[in-house]
C-alpha cells in the first residue's frame, strides 16, 4: 500500500526489468499493467474480429457453404466469448482502470499491486487455452451463453476448456474488482473527498461492485455445469431430472450485469473526455454519480428479461419489464448531461471527440431498442433474432468499443509522450462509423422479418440485406488498418506531445508523459475540481485554482 504523499526513497527494484521488456514481465506498476491489458485486449480483438469476419462471409449466401456447420457454431461461440471476456471487459476495466484510477485518487499505485499483476497474467493463458481448444478437439459450440442441455450434449472437451477459461477470466475480473474498490475507497489522497473524484472513479466503483457481486454466481453456475458434463450429475440435465431454466436464471444473474460491466466504465471515460475537449465543466456531477449507482442497483434486478420466451410466469415477466425499462431513466440523465456538457463549449472536434460523439449517437439507438426489447409483448417476436444482435452490437460496439478508441486517441499522448496523427484518426473514425452502421442497422430489419440469430443458413429473401451488412463488416475490418498504422507510426516518429497537450486538469496530466514509476516526481497534486474549466477561471493556472 502506498499512501505516502512523497515518493518512496527505496531504490528501484532490481527484479523489475526496464525498457520494453517490462511489458512482458510480472510488473507491479499499475501503468505497465494497464498497458498490458490494453495491448493484450487489442490482440484478442483482432482475433475476435477475424471470427466475426468469418461469420459475415458465411452469411453472404443463404446456404451454409463457407465452413462446416459445427465450425460455424464454434466460431460464433469463440467470437462472443473473446469479445466480451478478453477484449471489452479487460480493456474498459483493466486497462484504463489500472492506468487512471491511482492517478485520480492521488495514489502511487493500486492497493494490491501483486494481485493486480496476477489478475492480468490470468488473461493471456486462459485466452490462448480458449483459442487452442479449437485445434484440439473443436471449441465449444453452444454459444457464449452455453445453455444446457446443448452444452451438455455437444463434444465435452471444447466445452470444458471453455468453462475453465471463463472461470479464470472471471477470477481475474473479481481480483480487479476488489482492487479497484480498495483503491478508490482506501487510497485516496488525504483531503480528497469522494464527491471530488473524477467521474471515471465512480463508474469503476459501481462496476467493481457489480463484478464482485455477480461474477461469483457465474463461477458457481459454470462449476455445476462442468459437473453435469464430466461427472454426469443432473443439476441442469433434464434427462435425469435437472432443470434447464435454473441455469438460465443463474447465468443471466451475472451476464446481464456484465453488460453494465462493459458500458459503465465507458460512461466514465466519456465523462472525462467530453469536458476536456469542450473546455467546459462536466454538467451535473452529482446527478451523474447517482445515476451510476442507480444503474448498478437496477442492473442487478433485470436479468430475466433475457428469458421472456423461456417459460417464465406472467408476473415475473411484468416485474422484469418495468425494472428494465426504468434503467432508461438514469441512463437518459447521463446522455442529457453529456449533451449539456457540449452545449456552450469551445469544442475541438478531434478524433477522441468524434469517437465519443459517435458513441452517444450509437448508444442512444441501442438504448431505444433496449427499452423496446424490455416490453414482453414486443420481445416475444424479436427475441433470439437479428434484431437482438443489432441491439447489443449498438450497445457494446457502438457504445463500449467506440469509447475504447476515443480513449486511446485521448490518452495516447500520456501513455507514450507522442501525439497520434489527427488525419489518420479522422479517417479511422469515418470508416468505423459508416461501416458499423452499415453492418448493424440493417440487422434490425432482418430480425423483425424473420431471421433468427446464430444461423449459418437462412431464407434467400434476406440475402441482399445480409450482403449489405457484410459489406459494412468489411469496412469495419479495413478501418483497423489506418488505426494500427497510426499507432505504430506515432510510437516511432510521432510529434512530441509534452506533458499536457489537452491542457487538462485531471491529475494524470499533471505529471510527465509518460509518467515516472511512482506517478509524480514530487508530492501528489490535490485536484479538488477535476472539471474546473470555464471562462470564469480563464486566467488561473491549475495550481491557482486549487
Amino acid at each position: 500500500m502506498t499512501l505516502s504523499l512523497k515518493p518512496s526513497n527505496s531504490p528501484p527494484d532490481k527484479l523489475q526489468p526496464t525498457g520494453w521488456l517490462k511489458y512482458l514481465s510480472f510488473s507491479l506498476d499499475h501503468k505497465v499493467i494497464g498497458l498490458q491489458y490494453l495491448v493484450c485486449g487489442f490482440l484478442f480483438y483482432l482475433i475476435g474480429g477475424s471470427l466475426a469476419g468469418a461469420i459475415r462471409v458465411e452469411l453472404t449466401s443463404p446456404l451454409s457453404d463457407f465452413m462446416p456447420r459445427e465450425v460455424y457454431n464454434q466460431v460464433l461461440t469463440l467470437h462472443g466469448t473473446i469479445m466480451i471476456f478478453l477484449w471489452i471487459v479487460p480493456v474498459v476495466n483493466g486497462a484504463f482502470g489500472n492506468y487512471l484510477i491511482p492517478f485520480y485518487v492521488g495514489a502511487r499505485d493500486m492497493a494490491f499491486p501483486r494481485l493486480n499483476a496476477v489478475a492480468f497474467w490470468l488473461i493471456p493463458p486462459s485466452g490462448l487455452m480458449l483459442i487452442t481448444s479449437y485445434f484440439i478437439n473443436g471449441a465449444a459450440q453452444s454459444g457464449w451463453t452455453a445453455y444446457p442441455p446443448l452444452s451438455i450434449t455437444t463434444p465435452a472437451a471444447g466445452q470444458i476448456i471453455w468453462i475453465l477459461s471463463v472461470l479464470l477470466l472471471g477470477g481475474s475480473s473479481i481480483f480487479g474488482g476488489i482492487n479497484f474498490i480498495a483503491t478508490i475507497l482506501k487510497l485516496r489522497r488525504p483531503g480528497l473527498k469522494l464527491m471530488q473524484l473524477p467521474m471515471y472513479c465512480w463508474a469503476m466503483l459501481g462496476t467493481s461492485i457489480l463484478v464482485v457481486l455477480s461474477t461469483p454466481v457465474l463461477a458457481g453456475t459454470l462449476i455445476l455445469l462442468s459437473f453435469d458434463i464430466v461427472a454426469h450429475t443432473g443439476f441442469f440435465n433434464p434427462s435425469i431430472g435437472g432443470n434447464v431454466i435454473v441455469y438460465q436464471h443463474l447465468f443471466w444473474f451475472y451476464s446481464h450485469p456484465a453488460v453494465y460491466i462493459m458500458v459503465l466504465p465507458a460512461f466514465g471515460l466519456v465523462s472525462e473526455i467530453l469536458p476536456i475537449h469542450s473546455r467546459k465543466p462536466l454538467f451535473g456531477y452529482t446527478t451523474m454519480v447517482f445515476s451510476i449507482m442507480g444503474i448498478v442497483v437496477l442492473g442487478l434486478v433485470v436479468w430475466a428479461h433475457h428469458m421472456f420466451t423461456s417459460g417464465t410466469p406472467p408476473w415475473m415477466r411484468l416485474f422484469f419489464t418495468i425494472a428494465t425499462a426504468f434503467i432508461a431513466v438514469p441512463t437518459g440523465i447521463k446522455f442529457f448531461n453529456w449533451v449539456a456538457t457540449l452545449w456552450g463549449g469551445k469544442i475541438s472536434l478531434n478524433s477522441a471527440m468524434l469517437f465519443s460523439c459517435g458513441f452517444i449517437i450509437n448508444f442512444v439507438l441501442g438504448g431505444i431498442t433496449g427499452v423496446a426489447l424490455a416490453q414482453v409483448p414486443f420481445d416475444v417476436h424479436v427475441h433470439d433474432t437479428y434484431f437482438v444482435v443489432a441491439h447489443f452490437h449498438y450497445i457494446v460496439y457502438g457504445g463500449s468499443v467506440f469509447v475504447i478508441f476515443s480513449s486511446i486517441y485521448h490518452w495516447f499522448p500520456k501513455f507514450t509522450g507522442k501525439m497520434l496523427n489527427e488525419n489518420l484518426g479522422r479517417f479511422h473514425f469515418t470508416l468505423t462509423f459508416i461501416g458499423f452502421n452499415l453492418c448493424f442497422a440493417p440487422q434490425h430489419w432482418l430480425g423483425l422479418n424473420g431471421m433468427p440469430r446464430r444461423v449459418a443458413e437462412y431464407d434467400p429473401q434476406f440475402q441482399l440485406i445480409n450482403q449489405i451488412s457484410s459489406f459494412g463488416a468489411l469496412l469495419m475490418a479495413l478501418s483497423t488498418l489506418p488505426f494500427l498504422w497510426n499507432v505504430i507510426q506515432s510510437i516511432i516518429k510521432g510529434v512530441e506531445a509534452g506533458d499536457n497537450p489537452w491542457e487538462a486538469l485531471t491529475p494524470e496530466w499533471l505529471t510527465t508523459s509518460p509518467p515516472p514509476v511512482e506517478n509524480w516526481e514530487g508530492e501528489a497534486p490535490l485536484v479538488l475540481e477535476p472539471y474546473g474549466y470555464g471562462a470564469k477561471d480563464i486566467n488561473k493556472t491549475p495550481e491557482q485554482r486549487k
Binding site: 451454409s64 442441455p149 434447464v244 419489464t321 416490453q375 414486443f378
Partner: protein, 270 residues
C-alpha cells in the same frame, strides 16, 4: 446555458413529433400479420417506433447542432462557459424519461393483457393429458383473445415435439402425425410443446409469437390464425449444427379444407 427561444423550441418539438409519427406509419419493417394478436402487436410496435424515432432524431440533431454551433473557431482560445449544472433542467430530463417509460410500461402491460398473457391457462383439453404435479408454462397468448371474432371458440389441441432438427406435430383428434402444422382459420390453436433433447423455440414471424420448447418442461402456446397461407415455422434457439435448417411450415386453411385434410390423413374415422 443560453435560453432557446420558446417559439423555436415549439417548432422543433412539433417537427420531431410529426416526423416520428410519419416515419412510424411510412417505414414498414414488419412482415404481414396473420394471427389475432398480430394487429395488437403492430400497434405496440408503432407506438414504440414513434417514441424511438423522436428520441433518436432529437438526440442526434442536438449532438450535431452542438458540435457545429460550439466548435472552436481557428482564432479562438480559452474555455467555454462556466456551467456546472442546472437543477430545473436535471429535474426536467429525469421526469420526462420517467413518464415516458412509465407510459410505455403501462401501455405494453395493456397490450400483454389483450394478447392474453395475464390470463390463467385454460386447462380444458390439457388437464387430462398431464398430471397435476407437472408444471406447464404458457407462452404469450395463453388465454383466449377477444373470442367474439372467433368463429369456433373451443380451441384445437395439437401436440408439438421438437427434436434435433425437426418439429413433429401430433393431432390427438384423428391421431395424425405431421411434419407440417395444418390449422384452420379463425379457431384458437392450443399447442402443447415439449422437446426431446435440447431447447428449441417455436417461432412464426407472421403470428408475432415465439415460445421456447423445453426438455422436461412442457409449454403451451395459444394462437388464432386469421389469414390463409403458408408461413414459416423457425427454430429460434441455438440447438446444434443444423439449427439454421430447422424449419417447417404452418399451413393455414379454410375450415373446409382443413377438415378435408384431417379426414384424409386420419388413422381413425372421425
Amino acid at each position: 446555458m443560453p435560453k432557446l427561444p420558446a417559439i423555436l423550441t415549439l417548432i422543433t418539438s412539433l417537427v420531431l413529433g410529426v416526423g416520428g409519427v410519419w416515419i412510424a406509419y411510412n417505414v414498414d419493417m414488419l412482415p404481414e400479420g396473420a394471427s389475432l394478436n398480430a394487429p395488437v402487436y403492430d400497434e405496440l410496435y408503432r407506438v414504440l417506433f414513434i417514441i424511438g424515432s423522436i428520441l433518436f432524431i432529437g438526440m442526434t440533431a442536438l449532438v450535431i447542432y452542438s458540435l457545429i454551433q460550439f466548435r472552436r473557431r481557428p482564432d479562438e482560445t480559452g474555455d467555454g462557459i462556466d456551467l456546472e449544472g442546472n437543477i430545473s433542467l436535471e429535474i426536467f430530463w429525469t421526469a420526462v424519461p420517467a413518464i415516458v417509460v412509465l407510459f410505455v410500461g403501462l401501455y405494453s402491460y395493456d397490450i400483454y393483457d389483450r394478447m392474453g398473457g395475464m390470463q390463467p391457462l385454460m386447462h380444458d383439453h390439457n388437464s387430462q393429458m398431464e398430471s397435476q404435479s407437472e408444471r406447464v408454462w404458457g407462452g404469450i397468448g395463453s388465454g383466449p383473445i377477444d373470442t367474439s371474432s372467433v368463429k369456433n371458440s373451443s380451441s384445437l389441441p395439437i401436440e408439438l415435439t421438437a427434436m434435433q432438427f425437426a418439429f413433429i406435430f401430433h393431432y390427438p383428434k384423428g391421431d395424425i402425425i405431421s411434419g407440417e402444422l395444418h390449422v384452420p382459420i379463425g379457431r384458437q390453436i392450443s399447442l402443447k410443446m415439449e422437446s426431446k433433447d435440447v431447447i428449441h423455440a417455436f417461432w412464426v414471424p407472421q403470428f408475432r409469437l415465439k415460445q421456447d420448447v423445453i426438455p422436461g418442461q412442457p409449454t403451451i402456446l395459444n394462437f388464432t390464425p386469421t389469414k390463409a397461407g403458408n408461413f414459416p415455422i423457425i427454430c429460434a434457439e441455438l440447438c446444434g449444427p443444423y439449427h439454421g435448417g430447422m424449419r417447417s411450415n404452418v399451413i393455414v386453411d379454410e375450415q373446409e379444407d382443413f377438415d378435408a385434410w384431417l379426414r384424409e390423413n386420419s388413422k381413425e374415422t372421425i
